[in-house]
């Protein structure tokens, strides 16, 4: 089973975020893995232990910045990831969630295509009744590239009967071999994608659901998603995922057939994989840990350049906004306010007031303020003023 973990690189210190007209300049910042994505890796790890297969980490962004993060993932968690892919291209920069989802979905599709093509190659060799030596050599190459699992070809001593070895030794017919390969090829469509609920920089949580929808665009069937999953299990015999998610005060228990995309909530704790499936899991596993970061650019994944990066983004980020300055601020002990009620005051033909106790003085012309000080009508805003303004209305109502 192909298990994809979608990861994001986020600025390490959100205090030093570099943006140019609203677009993050990831090249110029220290980047770490989005903390929420740790749960995605945990979940991917669980699926691999339960079903077998390979965990592929996929990310998008500047390769130089992401490579150190991705290279650290092979040894993460119990199993770690087996392959890491970075979608990296200048043209992808400035993408909002829609453009990101489109790009990532093409990355996932290419991943599946590459894996399907590998099986197709084996199928073609068998159909053409290729020499056994050639078949074995090519299978070994594909196996070493992590493209076919132990079930199909294996160098593991524990795996005694791979499809190819049985075919080569004449234990199964060409027909049976092809049908096994076909079945495996089809099973590649039963993938699981996991990702964190959101990123700590964008905080939108939109990319997960949008990748599922984007994949549905690319394929002729609907790829569903479930967000905020805090618990799930997977049943390989029926290719079913059962997941729990919270909505307000309700927990929904949902069931879905693969493929599916799950966003994994920070509260997720991985289950213990039941014992007794070791053999199946091993057969479904791949050689594992191809430690060469795979880089794909926009052309390679077949992206329409109008749909990626800034040009493919329907939303624009504008300037920063100053939020919520209060209309009237009274600093304890510093802001001068009226001690008591004062009627209207005149100054140079203008009328000011009347004033309530606690009203600020600082809007008034200086000479008026001096006069009020001399008459002892104003004082710094004090504790009693504060009490009256905070609680006066509640006291009255009791």
């Amino acid at each position: 089973m192909i298990i994809v973990a979608l990861l994001k690189g986020v600025p390490a210190r959100t205090t030093r975020v570099v943006t140019v007209s609203g677009v993050l300049k990831r090249e110029e910042m220290d980047i770490v893995m989005n903390p929420h994505d740790v749960k995605a890796i945990e979940a991917a790890d669980y699926v691999k232990r339960r079903v077998g297969g390979k965990v592929v980490a996929l990310t998008m962004g500047p390769e130089v910045k992401l490579a150190p993060i991705m290279n650290g993932l092979y040894d993460a968690q119990v199993e770690g990831v087996d392959e890491a892919i970075v979608l990296s291209d200048r043209r992808m920069a400035g993408a909002d969630t829609l453009a990101t989802a489109y790009t990532v979905s093409l990355g996932v599709k290419r991943l599946l295509d590459v894996n399907r093509n590998a099986v197709d190659e084996v199928i073609r060799l068998i159909e053409a009744v290729a020499e056994k030596k050639i078949l074995l050599e090519r299978s070994k190459e594909l196996y070493n590239s992590n493209l076919i699992p132990n079930r199909i070809y294996s160098t593991l001593p524990a795996v005694k009967q791979s499809t190819i070895s049985e075919y080569v030794s004449g234990r199964i017919s060409k027909q049976d071999t092809l049908s096994r390969l076909d079945k495996f090829r089809e099973s590649l469509g039963n993938f699981v994608i996991v990702t964190g609920v959101k990123s700590t920089d964008g905080e939108t949580g939109s990319v997960g659901p949008q990748v599922a929808e984007a994949l549905s665009d690319l394929y002729a069937f609907l790829v569903p998603h479930i967000t905020y999953v805090h618990d799930f299990d997977i049943e390989p015999s029926s290719n079913t995922v059962t997941a729990e998610r919270k909505i307000s005060r309700i927990i929904q228990i949902l069931e879905v057939k693969l493929p599916v995309l799950l966003t994994i909530s920070p509260g997720y704790r991985s289950r213990v994989a039941p014992a007794g499936f070791k053999k199946e899991v091993r057969e479904n596993n791949y050689k594992g840990k191809v430690r060469d970061l795979i880089k794909w650019d926009a052309t390679l994944i077949g992206a329409d350049s109008r749909k990626i990066g800034l040009p493919g983004s329907p939303t624009l980020v504008g300037p920063g906004v100053d939020i919520g300055r209060p209309l009237s601020q009274k600093i304890l002990g510093r802001t001068f306010v009226f001690k008591e009620g004062v009627g209207s005051l005149q100054w140079e033909g203008q009328t000011y007031g009347p004033f309530q106790p606690g009203d600020r003085v600082d809007g008034l012309p200086d000479p008026l303020q001096r006069e009020l000080t001399d008459r002892g009508l104003i004082q710094p805003f004090g504790y009693q003023d504060l009490m009256r303004e905070l609680f006066g209305e509640f006291n009255a109502s009791r």
Partner: protein, 362 residues
């Protein structure tokens, strides 16, 4: 590229729970009303569900001009795919100018999927919405009356987001920022029942079971007063270390005094930095459900106390709608003072007991 022709009206997605409009839904009606009035468009409440026609009608009394009601037993419980299909069909047929959702477990699930299917923009977690003209510099074009979506961005600032070329402009709105819509039983509006058109495929994800969870005893969003503490409780004004429990107790006493004296429902809140510090003494007292801010709760109580909280933007967006903000901080330059109605420059270890005492004697 502009698809503005014929797109008119502001829509809000209505959520309901156990036969009632949820409190945040009343807020989204406020948000929608504001935007609709600025645009001079009508406000449409979109209600999906089963046998909840009366709730649809209720939204008119809360400010909707029109209700689109889709009744189907299969829509009784929220599921993303069927809801997306129904809303996609409605949008394609009726072309709203803007469509608002709540930024909660439903809106954050549904709005992205819908926005992608419609290939339009989505701005999440807005704390404010405005209508303004937007000048796009690269193309020297003015877009009239755009929905200006204001949200915390890149975790360091609050920014405006625009969707100039695509319609509808879709936004999710953070509860706690708009205030509930007011009931006016004399309001009248139109009620349209729409037939749903669901596919088998929409039920790929099946609802197997539901479980109700007991409501958390901490209800920050319903509190009338919130007393929040931050890392400032770790040292007093002279820089001497203090036990965080001592600071917590001071806040608790202040909260109790307010509750007892004035009958205001008062809760303790906290900054994320304090919660994440995972201090042993505060275990079980300063829990995650008390976090105020962008990644915690948004609160808008009558009175908010920020005690030893610097007021990082992520904290401020969670409390700036409070009616009266009192901030106690030793640093006169603390950002919290920018939004406090009542700054108190001083040591919380002195100021808080004094405030508590003053309240008791008030």
């Amino acid at each position: 590229m502009l698809q503005d022709d014929g797109y008119k009206g502001v829509w809000v997605h209505i959520q309901h729970e156990e036969g009632q409009l949820t409190k945040p839904t009343l807020e989204i009606l406020t948000a929608g009303r504001k935007v609709a009035e600025k645009l001079n468009h009508s406000l449409t409440a979109v209600v999906l569900g089963h046998e909840v026609e009366f709730l649809g009608r209720k939204t008119i009394e809360y400010g909707a001009d029109e209700v689109i009601y889709c009744d189907d037993p299969k829509l009784e419980n929220y599921l993303c795919l069927p809801y997306t299909t129904v809303l996609t069909n409605l949008v394609r047929e009726r072309k709203p100018y803007a469509f608002l959702f709540l930024a909660d477990e439903i809106g954050r699930d549904l709005a992205p999927r819908l926005a992608y299917r419609l290939k339009t923009g989505l701005a999440t977690d807005n704390i404010e919405l405005e209508i303004e003209d937007f000048y796009h510099v690269p193309t020297k074009t003015v877009y009239k009356n755009l929905l200006i979506q204001i949200r915390p961005d890149f975790a360091t600032r609050v920014a405006k987001i625009y969707t100039p070329w695509h319609r509808p402009q879709i936004a999710t709105v953070r509860p706690g920022n708009f205030g509930p819509a007011e009931l006016d039983e004399t309001r009248r509006g139109t009620f349209t029942v729409v037939k749903t058109n669901l596919n088998q495929e929409d039920f790929t994800v099946m609802l197997k079971d539901l479980r109700h969870i007991p409501t958390s005893p901490v209800q920050l969003d319903r509190a009338q007063a919130v007393v929040s503490i931050g890392l400032g409780i770790l040292r007093d004004g002279r820089g001497n270390p203090r036990s965080s429990l001592e600071g917590f107790r001071l806040a608790q006493e202040l909260a109790q005094a307010i509750q007892e004296k004035f009958g205001l429902k008062t809760e303790i809140g906290a900054s994320r930095a304090l919660i994440y510090a995972e201090l042993k003494e505060l275990h079980g007292l300063v829990t995650l459900d008390r976090q105020v801010g962008q990644t915690g709760k948004t609160v808008s109580p009558e009175i908010y106390f920020a005690l030893g909280i610097s007021g990082a933007v992520q904290h401020r967006v969670g409390m700036l709608r409070s009616k009266k903000i009192v901030a106690v901080n030793i640093d006169p330059g603390a950002p919290i003072f920018q939004i406090a109605h009542y700054p108190i420059i001083g040591d919380l270890y002195e100021e808080v007991p004094r405030l508590t005492e003053l309240i008791r004697r008030f």
